[in-house]
Amino acid sequence: MEYITITTGFLIILAGLWAIMTRKNIIRIIIGFSLFDTGIHIVMVSMAYVKGGVAPILDKNELLTDTANKIVDPVPQALVLTAIVIGLGVTALMLAYAMKLHSEKKSLDIESFKDLKW
């Protein structure tokens, strides 16, 4: 099963990159970034999956003995947990910039912002 999810994650990463590189609208680029984020999270969580493992929450007695052979890896899950929240912060920041850019030039097209282009 982890192969399937990992493949899905990679394809979503590629879709997000494609959106970032070819779309012209800034909001669409941010959506692409959001998809990219989701794909990376899926890949990381699938890498943590152990065959036949259960969630690392020891609320049953039979999980307390020989824990290490029964659970999935908790460390990447913890990292993804913080990554999702940071992703929200970054998305909010980018959207605030997009709003400001639009009120400057009345346009969301990435081609119309050439001030720093060399």
Binding site: M1, E2, I4, T5, T7, T8, L11, I12, A15, G16, W18, A19, R23, N25, I27, R28, I31, G32, S34, L35, T38, H41, I42, V45, S46, A48, Y49, G53, V54, A55, P56, I57, V72, Q77, A78, V80, L81, I84, V85, G87, L88, T91, A92, L95, A96, A98, M99, H102, S103, K106, L108
Partner: protein
């Protein structure tokens, strides 16, 4: 119970949703599709035995980020109102 087929179907649905999110003409549909990708990603996390991550994705990926997107879209819509008041209804219905 093996989750292979279910996760494959979920993956197909997610890819279709991300395709809609990238290529659909109307921005609001694209944002809804992004929210749906988060929704199904959260179910996929449950199959991968990660309930913590699933809960975070459900609350943040498909809840709060959609809300922020819509606030920004609303502000942008009210910003460039001039000259296109008449076709707004068509825009919604299309």
């Amino acid at each position: 119970m093996d989750f292979k087929i279910i996760s494959a179907l979920l993956g197909i649905i997610m890819l279709a949703m991300s395709f809609i999110a990238i290529y659909h003409k109307k921005m609001i549909v694209a944002v809804i599709a992004t929210g749906a990708v988060g929704l199904f990603a959260s179910i996929m996390y449950l199959f991968l035995a990660a309930p913590d991550v699933a809960m975070t994705e459900a609350a943040i990926g498909s809840g709060l980020s959609t809300i922020i997107f819509f606030y920004v879209l609303n502000r942008i819509r009210s910003n460039d109102k001039e000259g296109r008041e008449s076709d707004e209804i068509d825009e919604v219905i299309k």
